[in-house]
């Protein structure tokens, strides 16, 4: 079933679906560029203090639960896979697969957040939350506090972005179930996917920077 101009999905300011798709795609990439710089500011701060206080950072990193971190990395990578498969399903008009894969993505995202919450709780119990409850037993407590400040700020911001992503996917599921996304028009799924992959990439960098410093000590 082909429609020459599908008015209900073509916004009035665009001349055709291709222009609309290009604009949406470019818009999302422009937004992701802003996100690179947004997180980037924190990566800079982390890098500066890691270069100034390498030992304190290394020792602080040993307090992280490497197994949970690795599991979370795998979970997020898997969720990126489910997202690309969801986009693929939309492009092939397979509505049930689309909904299923988006649901799976959300579930994986929730698993990630669950594990993260557990880690945060552990940190609280170990008195390693700067500004809230911080009693570090190693050397250079002030410098270790900087490590943990960046840990919570960066993973917290990342988690916030994941929550937003999950909400977006939930919205997409509602629309998908009503058959809104077809082979002709599935742009929202595609660009939501881009956002999710970006959030995955951020975690791909957060994992080694916070969990994998000097494990050989």
């Amino acid at each position: 079933m082909t429609v020459a101009r599908t008015p209900e999905v073509l916004a009035h300011q665009f001349d055709d679906l291709e222009q609309q798709h290009d604009a949406a795609n470019l818009g999302m990439w422009a937004f992701l560029a802003t996100e690179i710089l947004f997180f980037g500011g924190m990566f800079l701060g982390y890098a500066v203090y890691r270069s100034l206080y390498p030992e304190a950072f290394t020792q602080a990193s040993n307090h992280m639960d490497i197994l949970l971190g690795m599991i979370n990395t795998v979970v997020l990578i898997a969720s990126s896979l489910t997202v690309v498969l969801a986009v693929h399903a939309a492009q092939q008009d397979r509505r049930r697969a689309l909904v299923g894969l988006l649901t799976l993505t959300i579930l994986l995202g929730l698993v990630f957040l669950g594990i993260k919450s557990t880690e945060y709780l552990h940190k609280f119990n170990e008195n390693l939350v700067p500004g809230v409850d911080f009693a570090y037993t190693g050397q250079n407590a002030r410098h270790a506090a900087l490590f943990f400040s960046f840990y919570f700020a960066m993973t917290g911001m990342h988690a916030l972005h994941m929550i937003i992503g999950i909400a977006i996917f939930a919205w997409l599921i509602v629309a998908a179930r009503r058959g809104r996304y077809t082979a002709i028009y599935n742009t929202p799924v595609e660009i939501a996917g881009l956002y999710w992959h970006f959030v995955d990439i951020i975690w791909i960098f957060l994992f080694p920077l916070f969990y994998l410093l000097g494990r050989h000590l």
């Binding site: 300011q13 222009q19 802003t34 500011g41 700067p130 002030r142």
Partner: protein
């Protein structure tokens, strides 16, 4: 005739509009309100500065006044004004489009803007902030007893509005140009807004994260920027100025785009060396990111970094100078028409040149050591922001007013107001160059006796300037009811926006225009042997 103003009535039709033209007017209302609030703060502290003693307000209050003046003027007026008012209105029209790429995002950006603005005003009313608009740590994070977090959050929210606008412009300019409209057939207004949008997208997020870290630090007593806890206040300054220096180009580039349009129209001559002017906008946007350390020469950053930043800062003046030369060359042997928009454009060129040259003095590391944090700096940036940006804004507002409102403003009053503004401006800010050179620090409410005469001159100028700003407000509003109806192209200008009615219909054009030649063409060009 149905146009975007009368197509439907009622508050809801305005507050829920997706029409870029109506959104532009929503922004016009908001930025005008904020401008006068920011101006009121300035009136108060300029009155304080009539006398050497601090006698009108307390020191803390004075600190709050100049802080709020800076924050409101920069974030709620200078950054949004031209892009969100003139840009929103004109970018789609100059591209022959029906609207921007993302109309709902555009409306959302206005709501975000107003929300952020209300946050800032709320913080002001609750008691204000006394850190200076620069929020330097650790004063802002540890020692200040003022509403730092609320203000910072307000700025954060407004930043998002800015990003949304910039994103909309970039995508629109890339994907929605009219058939035949290649990049070198675009109006220079578009080039400058494109460059501005690039800066917005790449710079604003860094300010956003800086504000987040500032708020967390203050809230939780973290040590990221606190030397007592192993942190570095200079890191804050790096992050802050990485955005805030390019921000000044966000504030000036749109005005430069306006000036290009005014100069070509009112000399009825194509812009001299269009490509150089177009590329100079991109050059300013890029080079502007390499120089932020010139705000930090005496902060404690590495001397070698200072030298590099000083050296690079010289380069960013070059594309600006190219524009000034090209505008002047355009006027030369042009058929000049001395109407109000041109008066503002000429004022811009002169005042921006002074402001820009004094910027070079400041960029010279050794000189800056002496004039840093003095009124010399204050005069420099006001020459650019007020003598430059605001003149560009007013010139543009007058030029496109017939298109926007369908009415002509009263030319006599407009010329008079322009003159009052020019005189008032110079009387306000030229003495400040002298004050700074002679050593008067900025952000001080009390000063040595010998500086009083210049301060009195400055305050006198400010009152004249204030009157000058009120006059256009009055006659613009007057013209909406009583001004003579405007034709589609009252100034004989080039550009697609002038090929549709004044005011335009909601969809802008009955049919998408096709572009077949460069944009600045005037019939009499052939007589003078210029390129057809």
């Amino acid at each position: 005739m149905s146009n975007y103003l009368n197509v439907n009535y009622g508050v809801k039709s305005w507050l829920l509009t997706r029409d870029h033209k109506r959104i532009a007017l929503l922004y016009l209302g908001a930025v005008t309100l904020f401008f006068f609030i920011g101006g009121a703060a300035a009136v108060i502290f300029r009155i304080e500065l009539l006398t050497p003693q601090g006698d009108l307000v307390q020191a803390e209050t004075y600190n709050k006044l100049f802080t709020m003046h800076g924050i409101i003027m920069i974030f709620l007026f200078l950054i949004p004004a031209i892009p969100a008012v003139l840009g929103n209105f004109l970018v789609p029209m100059m591209l022959g489009a029906r609207d921007l790429a993302f109309p709902r995002l555009n409306l959302a950006s206005w709501y975000v803007f107003v929300t952020g603005g209300l946050f800032l005003l709320g913080a002001m009313i609750a008691g204000g902030v006394d850190t200076g608009w620069t929020f330097y740590t650790p004063y802002s994070t540890v020692y200040s007893n003022s509403y730092v977090i609320a203000t910072a959050l307000g700025a954060f929210i407004v930043g998002f509005s800015s990003i949304m606008t910039g994103l909309n412009f970039v995508v629109t300019i890339h994907t929605m140009r009219a058939p035949g409209q290649t990049w070198f057939r675009l109006p220079l207004f578009i080039w400058s807004h494109y460059a501005t949008s690039v800066i917005i997208l790449l710079g604003t997020p860094v300010l956003a994260i800086t504000i987040v870290l500032l708020a967390l630090e203050r809230l939780l007593g973290l040590g990221i920027f606190n030397p007592a806890l192993g942190g570095d206040p200079i890191l804050f300054q790096h992050l802050f100025w990485f955005y805030s220096h390019p921000a000044v180009y966000i504030m000036i580039l749109p005005a430069m785009g306006v000036i290009s349009e005014l100069i070509t129209t009112f000399s009825r001559k194509r812009i001299f060396s269009y490509q150089f002017v177009a590329f100079s906008s991109i050059a300013i946007a890029v080079l502007g990111f390499f120089v932020w350390g010139h705000h930090m020469f005496v902060s404690g950053q590495s001397v070698y970094a200072g030298m590099v930043f000083s050296f690079l800062s010289m380069f960013v003046a070059i594309p600006s100078a190219i524009k000034v030369f090209n505008w002047t060359a355009t006027l030369y042997k042009g058929s000049v028409s001395w109407q109000t928009p041109l008066l503002y454009a000429l004022g811009f060129i002169g005042l921006f040149t002074i402001g820009g040259l004094t910027g070079l003095f400041l960029a010279t590391l050794a000189v800056d050591v002496h004039v840093h944090d003095t009124y010399f700096v204050v005069a420099h940036f006001h020459y650019i922001m007020v003598g430059g940006t605001i003149m560009g804004y007013l010139g543009g507002l007058h030029f496109w007013w017939p298109k926007i409102s369908g009415r002509l403003y009263p030319e006599g009053w407009a010329k008079f107001a322009a003159l009052v503004i020019f005189v008032g401006f110079n009387l306000t800010f030229f003495p400040q160059f002298l004050l700074g050179y002679l050593g008067m620090p900025r952000r001080y409410y009390a000063y040595p006796e010998e500086f009083q005469v210049l301060n009195v001159m400055s305050t006198a100028g400010a009152s004249i300037l204030g009157v000058g700003y009120i006059i256009p407000m009055v006659y613009f509003i007057w013209s909406m009811r009583y001004g003579p109806p405007a034709s589609a192209n009252p100034f004989g200008a080039s550009g697609l926006e002038w090929q549709t009615a004044s005011p335009p219909p909601t969809e802008n054009f009955a049919a998408t225009p096709v572009v077949t030649c460069e944009v600045y063409t005037y019939p009499s060009e052939h007589d003078r042997g210029a390129n057809p």
